[in-house]
Amino acid sequence: MEKTGKKISHVTGVLARSVRIIIENILREGGALQEIRMRIGQPLTVMIDGEEQILPLKERAHIVTKEEIKETIEYMSRYSLYAYENELRQGFLTLEGGHRVGVAGKVIVDRGKVKNIQYISSLNIRIAHEVIGCADELIPYITKNKKVCHTLIISPPRCGKTTLLRDLIRQISDGNEYVKGCSVGVVDERSEIGGCYMGIVQNNLGMRTDVLDCCPKAEGMIMLIRSMSPQVVAVDEIGTAEDIHAIEYAMQCGCKLIASVHGMDMEEAARKPVLGEMIRRKMFERYIVLGNDGHPGKVKEIYDERGSVLCRK
């Protein structure tokens, strides 16, 4: 089911040569590479099968140099930092294959806003993985008469809400026995859902999906509704008042909405200022609460618009 390590060469190809050799050697030994961490003056570490490893050996660690970080950044940006300015401002870069690179360093602030990141000192390369079919058990609960319900996914960080949302989008877009395939508009502000690289979606989001990449959610939802007339709009990690107003607008335009939000449970989501008001007004028809026990994407509870439990695990 899980397509981890998809096109891993897209990751190894952008690493500094000295680091590339070490990573390629460790890949030959097998195991699913999940993360590579490079910090200036610190050992090179990787996450393989959920376990952190210091490379090449714990007692003989490879210390990452400034030049290696610089070389890696050059390869990642294809010698064109200016082309990735907007992404860098948000602290990440997306590689071909949908892999994400988190960056940290000295932040340049202009009039109170982050302008760019200079002197990059840390890189966190996260290998993209899709869990095809992880939303299978969820689909019957969020559909009515082969149509999608307005759905809100509530989840603590790192519990697989984006992975789940991605698979939901794919299934709704392609259609199946529970839902008729329909056009889905995705506003992917941080390139996490589609993992777009140069505008091309790298993850499987289905055949009827249009993605607005690196676009602010509120603005993007309105743009999509006006230009692509989607039947379903999907957004990840809603939070600001503008996002929520745009969701309201999308709902009033006849689009079905699937969104995700950070939160531990329904109560916590209901306490959020603007979102709480939407919950009280019963604007969402389904609430999916994810738990952080077991595997990522584990559904804890599903509620309907009245707050009645439809499923509890």
């Binding site: 190809g13 952008v14 500094a16 040569r17 030049e67 610089k70 070389e71 050059e74 390869y75 940006s77 294809r78 010698y79 064109s80 930092l81 200016y82 082309a83 300015e85 302008k115 760019n116 140069m198």
Partner: protein
Amino acid sequence: MQKVIGGILILSATAGAGVVYGNELKRYLRNMVYLRYVFGLIRGEIEYTCAPLPEIFFGVSARVKEPYRRWLKKTAEEMECRDLSGFARVWNRCTDKYLEIPGLKQEHKILIKEPGTFLGSFEKDISDRAMEMYLNKMDLEIEKLRAELASKVKVGRCLGVMAGLFFIVLLI
């Protein structure tokens, strides 16, 4: 009669050499103007599309003539290989290897290699300003060449004729 024919032949050969020299200077200027046009296209593409350099070079290479087409295409290909750290190194290597402009002066070769030091390494605004300054520098260089051209062409032609006459006198 033979002397007259010989004299005419010598004169036309040396005068011809003077004309060829003038034409070479004109061609050199045309190459520099075209190079400025190529850099102008690159700047425009960076400003408008904000795409990474390899894509810009591929795009521009399709719109320019040889040898600039091959030079840009090869540079883009070598950049995609990611086997050299530092854009300047890739740029310098490709300029040396693929940009064949006849009689290119050392000072102009250095000028062509200069974008390697700033292209792609800054933010868009700074990159754009650096490119603007570079294009101004190229304009100045072209103006200098243009100003020198008329007098150099004239001197070349005169020297050609004079040399011819000198040989004729010498041989007679």
